[in-house]
Amino acid sequence: MIAYLIRRIWQMIPTLLGVVLLVFFLFNWVGGDPAYVLAGKMASPEDIANIRHQLGIDRPLWEQLWIFIRQIVSGDFGDSWSTHEPVSQIFRTRLGPSMTLLIPLMILETAVAVLMALLVSAFRGSLLDRSLMVASTMVMSISLLVYIIVGQYVFASVLGWFPVKGWSQQLSQNLTTYAVLPVLLGLLVSVAPSLRLYRTFILDEVGQDYVRTARAKGVSETRILWVHVLRNAGIPIVTNLLMGLPALLTGAFLLERFFAIPGIGREIILAVERSDFPIIKAATVYVAMATLVANLLGDMLYRVLDPRVNLD
């Protein structure tokens, strides 16, 4: 197991390096020159040159790449080019609100999708199954933006059940007041594709021989579904779940923007608009690392879920 872990971690290095090279060259190719925006409305070519020099983007590419690699190793990505705020502080302060929004959303989405998938699997081909699948397709077909605009207007403005927008410093108040509507709207969109996917995973298992054997032995349908089927369908579900984990680091841009939540999603989009490379670099590297770690975690969880899986 330890040998496997070391091997996997060792394999992460070239993958990460590939990501770093891709991000670096993409940014330098299409990322835009921030100096022209930072210089303001009336700047001379000398002013632009001065800003480029201060940002270090007038240095040779290999030198800039080396600085990038050093930043990854040290974990210090410097300051935002637009606001001078340290990048580490941006992530430290903006990740909290994003997580407050996305962790409950992920938990709820998984729980609801798994429960409903089990339910429709038990009644496969029935009116309930077909209705839910049609409803899922319809719900998936509408953009999150529409849900947000309509949901905010109806539930927050007209009915007054939730605040239109806002965020506080207290986790409990955010969870019970400000995050509720955004989470519910996010759930409306995200639960449908998960439900369809999990239903497929579960139906794959329901048709297996071991289920028939269990039924022949007289095991109850509830036990078959909850214990045998769910455990075996767990591997792809866990994979799907873990693949979604890195997204926590990129926030939920639309929800954050409409509900004035000071999350990381807004910050990253703003950084892209402003060509604020330090933030873009940090976000990309963090997400790449999180993806690699989530992959590793997933492989290890397979072993827990299914002892037949041999990691060595």
Binding site: G32, D33, P34, Y36, V37, L38, A39, G40, K41, M42, A43, S44, P45, D47, I48, N50, I51, Q54, S82, T83, H84, E85, I90, T93, R94, I149, Q152, Y153, A156, S157, G160, P163, V164, K165, G166, W167, Q169, R257, F258, F259, A260, I261, P262, R266, E267, L270, E273, R274, S275
Partner: protein, 604 residues
């Protein structure tokens, strides 16, 4: 015995004062920002949202009268208006005495008075290359000796703030003489910008590297709680001097510029609500960053915001023509409407190999393209009616504007086609026009990736179709557009400019030859135009200068350089409990001049 009674009396009085104080509810103003702030070091500020907050935190030497229209400069940190001599080359500012910075640990509990030396330090900071100030242009190349200090700093990497220069002379603790290299009657406007709010050297040095998080100014408010990109709370500056609200009525812009004969009736309400009150009346300002206009609109509807700038897409919901909808009037909501000191203008790159140049054919082609632009359609579709046709490069309300100017480039596709036919731009077999030498002709229009700019593309395509000219779309990210523009690589674009200060020069400089690679996006260089413009630089605002401005504007049209299209209308909605509000065209915020009647505010 008497001593004992006196003590009791003092305690009793103390209790009464405390009770009275406790009984006075805190007045809180709830506002929104449409984009996140970028930090509160004035020297590094370039956006209006941040400037709005800095207007309350810092004080420049001068400011603009709250009610006067057209806008008028008045002293702020200065005790009086500057004494200007030597044909606008020498400016003497005298500071108010007893103006103190807000408390900060750097001052170690002592009151710190603002002095002339602080003004010198503040101005010098703009030339320090390390600060890479976006508003450096207001002093760049103007003050004797200051550019040289900047040049030295660029070479040595260190700006010498201790240097004495002839251009910035401290005459005494409160008096400063500024000597300019050349005549500049607009220098006073530079000294009224919130970015030129006075800072204390020890504060800046103490928080070096993080000055954006430590705004310490002399303004009516100081920074309270701050959650970056989310919430900014301003609280009263306890060291703010005693200042009384005492603005006189401005003039009614529809009637004339004389406030005595044509007072603005809206000002009477503002004056009645505010006159004689101490500045500021509001204890705390709670500013939330709300980037989506729907969220701001709904929050305002619920009374959670006291004032909002009405976004274009909500204008049809709030307004009928230029009036509020009856439902909003019934709720006591007020509309303040003014023409922004801004222009939207088309320009064509004069150095472009296809459209540029000064031959008769090229000039005719450019003029035809401009004449195919339907400005009324632009106002209807893009601005939802919240703009008006303005053909003059200097917008209404800005010194030098001309409401009677008649453009020669008004929408007239028939005339435009006729012009092209005359000049030999014949149609090819595909139905599209070709250059007189038979080569293909197309116009490349540069826009950003935003959804509104997609609509602009559609409109331009329609305009060029009217002339049977091929349309090409160039989509770039905003920083790339600016870069391409400065490198004279943009062929045609619809650009915008909002006044930094309310003088025609701030607009006319957009076409000045030496400003190519800076902000002369049309890359226009015409010795005749440049000499005329240079003449205006040494003139104070006057009829003579206006006459030259008209010549300059006409030349821009005749040479097919630019077509000024529209000016935007700003609509601000305020709740009935907000007192004393009048929209100001130049000041980024006027919050310290307002009050709140909490009895009218709905109880939660």
């Amino acid at each position: 015995m008497i001593n004992h009674m006196a003590k009791r009396l003092i305690i009793l009085l103390g209790c009464m004062v405390s009770l009275a104080y406790a009984a006075t509810p805190e007045k809180v103003l709830h506002l929104e920002l449409s984009a996140a702030e970028t930090g509160f070091d004035p020297v590094a500020t370039s956006d209006l949202n941040t400037a709005a907050i800095e207007q309350q935190l810092f004080e420049a030497l001068l400011t603009y009268d709250y009610l006067a229209r057209p806008v008028r400069l008045i002293p702020r940190l200065a005790a009086t208006m500057p004494v200007v001599t030597d044909q606008g080359k020498t400016w003497v500012f005298t500071l108010k005495k007893g103006v103190y910075f807000c408390p900060d640990p750097v001052f170690k509990g002592q009151l710190r008075e603002a002095t002339a030396q602080d003004v010198v330090y503040t101005i010098m900071r703009f030339m320090d290359p390390k600060n890479r100030s976006p508003y450096k242009f207001l002093v760049d190349g103007k003050i004797i000796g200051l550019d040289e200090l900047g040049d030295e700093a660029r070479k040595s990497g260190h700006f010498n703030y201790n240097a004495s220069i002839a251009g910035l002379e401290v005459l005494d603790r409160y008096t400063l003489k500024i000597r300019l290299k050349t005549t500049d009657y607009n220098f006073s406007h530079a000294m009224a910008q919130p970015m030129y709010g006075i800072v204390a050297r020890e504060v800046i040095e103490s928080y070096a590297g993080d000055t954006a998080s430590h705004p310490v100014g002399t303004g009516p408010y100081r920074l309270g709680r701050w959650i970056r990109s989310s919430l900014i709370e301003l609280e009263k500056n306890p060291n703010f001097r005693h200042e009384v609200w005492d603005f006189g009525s401005g003039s009614d812009p529809k009637l004339g510029s004389d406030p005595k004969n044509n007072p603005d009736p809206a000002d009477a309400r503002v004056i009645a609500q505010m006159k004689g009150k101490t500045i500021p009346q509001i204890d705390r300002i709670d500013i939330q960053v709300i980037e989506e206009s729907q969220s701001a609109w709904l929050s305002f509807g619920k009374g959670e915001l006291d004032m909002i700038g009405l976004a274009g897409q909500f204008a049809p919901m709030a307004l009928t023509g230029d009036r509020l909808k009856p439902a909003l009037i019934q709720r006591g909501i007020r509309l303040d409407r003014l023409i922004d000191p801004s222009i939207a203008y088309y320009f064509i790159n004069q150095q472009d190999p296809v459209l540029g140049g000064m031959s008769r054919e090229r000039i005719a082609l450019r003029r035809a393209i401009f004449m195919a632009q339907n400005d009324e359609e632009m106002i209807r579709v893009i601005h939802k009616g919240q703009a008006f046709r303005n053909a003059y490069p200097i917008p209404d309300g800005v010194e030098g504007s001309d409401p009677n100017y008649r453009s020669v480039l008004n929408y007239n596709p028939r005339e435009a086609n006729h012009l092209l036919d005359q000049m030999g731009y014949a149609k090819g077999p595909d139905g599209y026009r070709r250059l007189p030498d038979g080569k293909p002709l197309s116009v490349r229009y540069t826009t950003s990736l935003s959804s509104q700019d997609r609509e602009l593309d559609e409109m331009m395509k329609k305009s060029l179709d009217r002339l049977s000219i091929h349309f090409e779309s160039e989509k770039l990210k905003f920083p790339e557009i600016i870069k391409a523009e400065r490198q004279c690589r943009v062929q045609m674009r619809l650009s915008g400019w909002i006044a930094d200060y309310p003088d025609g020069d701030n607009f006319m400089q957009l076409w000045y030859g030496p400003h190519i690679h800076e902000n002369n996006g049309s890359c226009y260089q015409d010795p005749v135009w440049d000499r005329l413009y240079e003449k205006t630089l040494t003139m104070p605002a006057s009829l003579q200068r206006d006459t030259i401005y008209r010549q300059l504007a006409r030349l821009l049209e005749l040479n097919g350089v630019t077509k000024v299209s529209t000016s935007h209308i700003r609509n601000v909605l305020s709740q009935p409990w907000l007192l004393g509000y009048k929209a100001h065209p130049i000041l980024p915020s006027v919050w310290s001049y307002l009050d709140i009647d909490d009895t009218q505010r709905p109880k939660p």
